[in-house]
Symmetry: C2
Subunit: 504 residues, 2 copies
C-alpha cells in the first residue's frame, strides 16, 4: 500500500474546490492557467476582506476616498507610465519546436541560481555559457528577448485604436487625480483608493494564487506635499507602536518602535504611520499571529528605480514554504504625477498653501487574491476528527448555520423561521440532511463560526443549542435572543461561555 501524503497546499485546494471557495475558471472547458473563479464561499471571504480593508484604510483620513474606473485604457497612459517600454518578461524560444520559456525561470531551475531582474544579454550569456537546451526537445534556444506583459485590445470598427487592460489598478487614481483634486476643493493630502481587476499576460502562471493573469488589487494612492513627509497629524497614535521590521542589511525581524524607526532609521513619519496601520490591519483585525508577519525592506537592486522607500508586507505561509509578499508600501516620489503631467501635457501640479508642487505618491498596494489564499493557509487546522478554518468572524464565509436536529414534527419549520430571521442581518446557512455530527463537521470544514440546533425541547422551552466552532462548546439560548447574542459574539463583546446556560 502506498501512503500519499498531501501537502498543505493540496489540502487547501481540495477543500476550496469541492466546497465552493474557488476553482479553475471555465473548468468545464480546458481551463487556462492563471484564471480562477471564486465560488459562493470564496466570494464571501473576498468581499469581507475587501470591506474590512475599505473600512480600515479609508477611515484614516476624511480625504481618503474610493473611485471605480475602467480596466481598458488608452495606449498613451502606458507610454507615460513606462509600462509600454519596461513591463517585460525575458523570453527564449526553442529553435526547433518553437516552445517559449521565461529565460530567468529556466536558468533558475537548471542552474539553481537567482536570475530574476537580469538583462537580456546577461540571460543570453548564461544560457549559452551553460549550454542550456529546450526542456522539451533538447534543441538550441534563441537569444533572450523582452516580451511585454500587457494585454492589447483593438477598439472600434477600424481596429486602429489600440488600448490595453491595465496591469495595475494604480494608474486609475493618477488619471483621476486632477478631477478629484478640483471636486474635493484642492485639499492635500488626498487619497484615492481602487479595489478592482488588473491583468498581466504571465508566461508561466504558478504558485496557485500568487501569479495570476487576472487578479484583484486593493490599492490606496496618497497624494501629498513632499516637504511634509516627516509630518503626521496622528503621530501620537503610533509613535510607541512596535513595527516588525526585517531590514535588508540585517536579515532578521526586529521590533522597532515608530519613534525609533523615525530617528534611527530615518524613515519619515508619514510613511511609518501607514506602515503601523497596515501591521495593525493584519495583527489586530485579521488576527494573523505575530510570528507570521514581517515588513521586509527591499534593497536598492530589488525595488523599482522610482521607489524611494519600499517595504513588502510578508506573511509566512506554510503552503508556500516561507514568507510571501501579500502587500507593499511604496514611496513613489513624483514618478507618477510627474510622468502623466509630461505625457498628457496637462497641468497636474497643485497650488497648496501658496506653494506650487508636483504631488508625491505614497502607495498602499494589496493583492486581494493573495490575501484570500493567505487566510486559507493561516487559519487551516487539523484536529482528530475534523479539519477546519479558524477564520475570525470578519472574514468567515458563513456566520451561523441553523439545523433542525431531525426532519420530524415542527423542527424544520422552527429552524427555517430562525434561519430566515438571522439571514437578514448575518450570512446564515440552513441544512437539514445527514446526522447532526456530520452537519457540524461540514460547517467546521468551511469555517462557519457558530451552529444553532433546534431540537424537541425547543418546542417546549423555546431554547436552542448554540455551538462554538473552535472550542466545540455548546450553550443553551432562547430563540428570541439568538440575534443579539450572535451580534455581540461576532463583535467580540461577549465571551462564548457567557452567551447562555452551559451544557455538559
Amino acid at each position: 500500500m502506498i501512503m500519499v501524503l498531501e501537502t498543505k497546499s493540496e489540502k487547501i485546494m481540495k477543500v476550496a474546490n469541492s466546497r465552493g471557495f474557488f476553482y479553475p475558471s471555465a473548468e468545464i472547458y480546458c481551463a487556462k492557467a492563471g484564471f480562477w473563479t471564486y465560488g459562493h464561499l470564496g466570494t464571501r471571504v473576498k468581499q469581507k476582506w475587501e470591506n474590512l480593508w475599505r473600512k480600515t484604510f479609508l477611515s484614516l483620513n476624511p480625504y481618503y476616498f474610493e473611485i471605480d474606473d475602467c480596466v481598458i485604457m488608452p495606449e498613451d497612459v502606458f507610454k507615460a507610465s513606462g509600462h509600454l517600454e519596461h513591463f517585460n518578461d525575458p523570453l527564449t524560444e526553442c529553435k526547433k519546436c518553437h516552445s517559449r520559456y521565461r529565460a530567468d525561470e529556466l536558468i533558475e531551475k537548471s542552474l539553481k541560481i537567482e536570475a530574476q531582474g537580469l538583462s537580456e544579454d546577461a540571460l543570453t550569456k548564461l544560457i549559452q555559457d551553460n549550454k542550456l537546451l529546450c526542456p522539451k526537445c533538447s534543441a538550441e534556444l534563441t537569444e533572450v528577448k523582452m516580451f511585454n506583459m500587457m494585454f492589447k485590445l483593438k477598439v472600434g470598427a477600424t481596429g486602429q485604436d489600440v488600448m490595453y487592460l491595465r496591469p495595475e489598478s494604480a494608474q486609475s487614481p493618477y488619471l483621476a487625480f486632477k478631477r478629484e483634486h478640483e471636486a474635493l476643493r484642492r485639499k492635500m493630502p488626498m487619497g484615492l483608493a481602487v479595489i478592482g481587476k488588473a491583468f498581466r499576460n504571465e508566461i508561466s502562471p504558478r504558485q496557485g494564487f500568487f501569479r495570476l493573469r487576472e487578479f484583484t488589487q486593493a490599492e490606496l494612492q496618497i497624494f501629498f506635499d513632499p516637504d511634509k513627509i516627516d509630518e503626521c497629524d496622528n503621530w501620537d497614535e503610533v509613535k510607541d507602536y512596535e513595527l516588525l521590521l526585517y531590514l535588508h542589511n540585517d536579515k532578521k525581524i526586529n521590533k522597532v518602535k515608530c519613534e525609533e524607526a523615525n530617528k534611527e532609521l530615518k524613515l519619515p513619519r508619514f510613511y511609518l504611520y501607514h506602515a503601523a496601520k497596515i501591521q495593525q490591519f493584519y495583527l489586530d483585525k485579521l488576527r494573523i499571529p505575530k510570528e507570521l508577519f514581517r515588513l521586509r525592506e527591499l534593497s536598492e537592486e530589488e525595488r523599482a528605480f522610482y521607489n524611494k522607500i519600499h517595504f513588502d508586507i510578508e506573511l509566512n505561509l506554510e503552503s508556500l514554504g516561507g514568507f510571501k509578499e501579500v502587500a507593499g508600501l511604496h514611496y513613489r516620489g513624483d514618478h507618477d504625477i510627474g510622468g502623466h503631467q509630461k505625457g498628457s501635457k496637462q497641468k497636474l501640479e497643485v497650488v497648496d498653501e501658496n506653494k506650487r508642487y508636483i504631488p508625491h505618491v505614497l502607495e498602499l498596494s494589496f493583492g486581494v487574491d493573495r490575501n484570500v489564499w493567505a487566510l486559507m493557509d493561516v487559519f487551516y487546522a487539523e484536529e482528530k476528527e475534523r479539519t477546519l478554518f479558524k477564520f475570525p468572524p470578519n472574514v468567515s464565509p458563513i456566520d451561523v448555520a441553523v439545523f433542525p436536529l431531525v426532519k420530524k414534527e415542527e423542527l424544520p419549520t422552527i429552524a427555517k423561521k430562525l434561519f430566515t430571521e438571522l439571514n437578514y442581518e448575518f450570512k446564515a446557512f440552513y441544512d437539514e440532511s445527514g446526522s447532526i455530527g456530520r452537519r457540524y463537521r461540514r460547517q467546521d470544514e468551511i469555517g462557519t463560526n457558530y451552529g444553532i440546533t433546534v431540537d424537541f425541547d425547543t418546542m417546549d422551552n423555546n431554547k436552542v443549542t448554540l455551538r462554538d466552532r473552535d472550542s466545540m462548546k455548546q450553550v443553551l439560548v432562547e430563540v428570541d435572543k439568538c440575534k443579539n447574542i450572535l451580534r455581540e459574539l461576532i463583535k467580540g463583546n461577549l465571551k462564548f461561555e457567557d452567551a447562555g446556560e452551559s451544557l455538559k
Copy 2:
C-alpha cells in the same frame, strides 16, 4: 444676449463631472467614447445600489448565492454560447475615406425608419436603393458586413491562445453551475449571481451611460426544473400584488394582479414571483415613482430566439426622452446549460427527485451603470435657490455632513470629533470653509441627506442643529444622540419632525 437652455442630461452631466460622480475615463489623455470613471461620489452610489440589489435578490431563496469570476474567457465558451457566430453589429465602409459606420444607425438617421435587427442583405439594399453616401466625404458605401462585438485577446507567449472579454456576466454562472451544484448538495432551484464587468466593442457608443464599451452588470441566473415553472413556494406573498404591465399587443400600462397574470395571461408563477420582487425593488426600496415604471413585454421579433418569456424593466427618464430599459427578466429555457453541455461534452444535466433533466434558466439582468444614471435622472430636482438630488438614504453618496458654523474657538474641534464618530457608522463629510448657506447648498447639490451644524451654543448646551435636505427643516438635538437619531431617520423609523426640539 443668447440664452443657452441646458437639457436635463447636460445638467446632470455637469454636476456629475464637477462634483465627482463620474467623468470620462483617462480624460487627461484623449478619452475614448464609452469608457467612464466613477468618482468618489459615484462609487458610493454604485456600491450602495449593488449592496441593496444583493440584499434584495440573494435573500429571496437560501440557495441563491453570489460568485465572482474572471472576465477573460476561452474561445470555446463563446462558440457554445453562440456569441462568436451571432454577437455582431452590421457595418458599412466608405469606399474612399474608409470611415466605418453602423449600417442600421446610418439608415435610421438618413431615412427616419427603424432598421435595427435587419439582415446584412436588407441593410445593403436600403443603402443602395436610397443611394446613401458617406456622411463625411459623400463617396459610395460598401456592402454591409457583420462585425463581432467581442474584444479578442492573445494569451501566453506564443499568441496562439485566443481568449475574449466576456460580453455579458451571465456566462460565468453557466460555467460554474456544475461545480456549485455539487458543492451545494444538488439542491434545486439554485441561483448564482454575479456583479461584475462586461465588455462590448460598440462601434458608436452613445446615450451617455446606455451604450458603454465597459460596463457593470448585476445578474442572477436561476437554475430550475422546467416542469415546476408554475410552482412557487412564496406565491402567497405576491399573488395579490399588482404588476405594472405594458403588453406588446396593447401598448399601455395595465395594473394586473399576479394571480390574474397567471390565469389570464398564462405567465408562470415562478416568473411572476420574480417580476413582482423586481417591481418592489424599484418602487419600495429605490422609491421610484410608480408612474415612471413599467414591465414591457417584448414581441417575438424583438426578443432573442431562446427567450421564451421576456419583459424589460423600463423607467421613464426625462433626460433620455422616455422609457428606457434598466433591467430584464428572461426565461431562457435550456439554451444555456444545454449549449454548454454540448460544447464542453460534460454532463450538466441534473438528477433531482429521481428525474433527469437539463436545468432551465430564469435570468434577472440589471445594467448597473444605467441604474445609476436613472437614479441621477429621477431624483434630480431644481428649486428656487438650489439644485438637489432627492436620493433616498439607501443610495445617497453621503449620509451626513458636519459643519462648524465658523472657524472660531472650539467649534472646528467639536465638529471634527463628531464627524469622526459618525464616519465610522455612516458616510460623513466634514466641511469648514465658506458661508454656512453655501455649504448646505453644496451638500444639497450632491444629495447628502442630513446636515449637522456646531455653533456657539453647542459649547454651552451640547446641542447641534440637524437639517433635513428635502424640507430644509431644522431641529436641535443633543450631540450624544446624533448617532441614534441618524440611524432611525435613515431606517425610516423616525420622522424628521420628531427627531429633536423644533426651531423656527
